[in-house]
């Protein structure tokens, strides 16, 4: 990075299964207006706009950023549209960060959204791959075998997934923007029907309408702003090919490489001790245990022990997804940016009822594709 970059504004919508009262443009504006207000800036202050969302088939609009140019305040500004599958919200924010780091832009607005009620996510997320029998089982059908492999490999007991799901819901109850906030017990989860073995109904992310927007800015702007910024210490997006013989889908190399990259550049040697909270992309319960290992918070095979001991709960050693995470709110394209934005809010000390005490460094993380795309950043109170 050529020069420091800070998050100076965070905005998100109230997330729900159907924001029928809003057009796609309205939804995006709800987040954008909040981010600009938060940053104390107006559209005219913005030098470029970086937009991200998951497949256009989710809403049935091709490259919707084109018709949203007006709503995004992008008229006569540079704009790009990013799409890196589920990781897109995170890779989009990182692309916006690069714009500022380049020295060419002072203040960049980045936006990610999904209005899933416009379409059918199960259909849109069931790609027909050449020479491959279509699963038509959505993302859950795709990722359930990865979770089964994790259980087989580590001997994790079957209550771990339900524990993760119940904890996420307890966290979401403290987040006013979250989609699913009704409390549920481990027993409730265990009693819900299995959708894709071992994933039960209540261990699955919802389909949400929602958007997230961030304003990223140079140091000069960050010092001028009305609030304490979150400094981006390091960020990276990595991807790996799918059909590599021996590729480890449970503990993907791209995730390990990306985590090593961002921790090294942030000067973090032991993330378990030096990161105070993490927002990580957990669309199905078991991924929380899997990513704790992949990110290097613990050794391989130890992720589920952290969950079993409750060390990742709110108020414990390393609160994971204090916002409730993807399990409680999932406007797919925005989910990654929500992770990065929530990490920034924790560092800024403005996460409201789900604020973790004493956060100096926070990790925001997202993944996508067949566990092939990883994007993450470390934000900090200091640069």
């Amino acid at each position: 990075m050529k020069r420091p970059v800070a998050v100076v504004g965070v905005g998100q919508t109230r997330h729900a299964s159907r924001r029928a009262e809003l057009s796609i443009a309205d939804l995006v504006r709800e987040a954008v207006d909040r981010a600009l207000l938060d940053a104390g800036l107006e559209h005219r202050d913005i030098d470029a706009v970086v937009v991200g969302k998951a497949p256009d088939q989710l809403e049935g609009v091709m490259q919707p950023e084109q018709f949203l140019a007006g709503a995004l305040g992008a008229h006569l500004k540079p704009l790009i549209r990013v799409h890196t599958a589920g990781s897109v919200g995170a890779s989009t924010a990182i692309a916006a960060m690069t714009h500022v780091a380049s020295g060419l832009f002072e203040r960049v607005l980045t936006v990610a959204f999904e209005k899933q009620s416009e379409g059918n996510a199960m259909w849109a997320l069931s790609p027909k791959m050449p020479f491959t029998a279509p699963l038509v089982a959505g993302a859950g059908g795709f990722f359930a075998p990865y979770c089964r492999a994790y259980i087989a490999r580590t001997g994790a007991p079957l209550h771990i997934g339900p524990m993760i799901a119940a904890n996420a819901r307890a966290n979401a109850a403290r987040n006013e923007y979250a989609h699913l906030r009704e409390p549920m017990t481990v027993e409730d989860v265990t009693n819900s029907p299995v959708l894709w073995d071992p994933i039960r109904y209540l261990e699955t992310c919802p389909s949400s309408d929602g958007a997230c927007a961030l304003v990223l800015a140079s140091e000069a702007q960050a010092r001028r702003g009305p609030r304490r910024p979150a400094w981006v210490k390091s960020a990276a997006s990595y991807a790996e090919a799918m059909w590599v013989p021996g590729r480890d889908q449970v503990n993907p190399l791209a995730g390990r490489v990306c985590a090593k990259h961002v921790f090294e550049r942030a000067g973090i040697r032991d993330p378990w001790r030096e990161i105070q909270t993490a927002e990580i992309y957990v669309p199905f319960s078991w991924f929380e245990a899997m990513w704790l290992e992949n990110l290097g918070f613990c050794d391989v095979g130890q992720g589920w022990h952290i969950v079993d001991r409750g060390e990742q709960r709110f108020g414990a050693h390393l609160p994971i997804n204090p916002s409730g995470g993807v399990l409680c709110t999932n406007p797919i394209g925005a989910s990654g940016m929500l992770r990065l934005g929530e990490a920034a809010l924790q560092v800024m000390g403005r996460a409201g009822d789900h604020q973790v005490d004493g956060v100096k460094n926070a990790l925001g993380h997202a993944y996508g594709g067949g566990a092939q795309y990883f994007a993450m950043w470390v934000v900090s109170t200091e640069h």
């Binding site: 018709f67 549209r81 991807a239 090919a241």
Partner: protein
Amino acid sequence: MSRLRNVAVVAFAQAPVVARDEHRMATEMLYPQVRRALADCGVERSAIDYQVAGSADYIDGRPFGFVGALEVMGSWPPTQDLHLEMDAAFAAHYAWIRMQAGDCDTALVCGHGKVSEGEPRRILNLELDPYYQAPIGLDPLATAALQASAFMARTGTTDRRLAEIAARNRAAGARNPDVQVRSSASADELARTPWAVEPLRTGYVPPLGESAVALILAAEGKAERMCDRPAWIHGTDQRIELQTLGARDLSRSPSARLAAERALAMAGATSAADVDLVELSAATPVEELILCEALGIDADRSSPALNPSGGPLVGHPLMMTGLIRLGEAFRQLAGRAGDHAVAGARRAIAHATNGHCLQQNLFWVLGTERRWT
């Protein structure tokens, strides 16, 4: 403009544009281009720091079509990567920004997609806003015709003039082995072709085509070692404008004008007329005229040469057309343009667009010498 990092195009490979490649998937079309581009600059994939692609899921006819490109772009071991849902020229622009940030020294930029898998006229209707414009059934030919009408009404441009521009592009295309339409046609012949959508004739619009493209960018220090005649980027800028057709003066493109101004200013150039050639992503003769107006160049003069490759009228693979313009500018400056070479070319402009009616525009100004010393 403060000193930026000198970055150059050092390699370019494209599959010849065809109406339909019956036997290969998009990734199979792309892989040989990646290998050719790498071989061109004599490096292995491991020498490339960053990769970024441009494509569209709707063109691929499925979600996550771009994920397959990871297999052929060389994503093992894992690589730093991004994908833009745009013409791949915008991916090249982002790679350039990344180099300015000091995050990479070399980048592989790919464009891919098979339009023959679907019905692009219906698909591109879905780019329009879903509440007011898309339901009318407007497709890119219809919106281009609206734009042509507006331009002809404002400027008095005649049908004959459009035929002449189309004929020039056809003549140029006949000298370029990578294009789809390799036969020249006279203005008289083209002026007799039927309306596609009035006032655009079938002779004034490109056929649907598909290709695959790989281009390599490298920063100063590496570029010279990868290419004997790199095409240095002197300036670049991109801008979008409103989509709503009724809210725009379709006869002009303010986003193109602003992007051109900024790119030229970055290049330290006073006038676009000083370059030797211009490659425009103009899918119709009217788009060519609107872009010339935005650049401040006279489409009737012999210099700069306009679309010496034949331009999109003879080969228009969606999501790649813009990156091919950048690749063509490289070919000209690197002395690799073969039969369609512009003699002694030292400076070039390349252009890319996204959306209906030139909604978003990207310009590159390139030269055989470094911009910043």
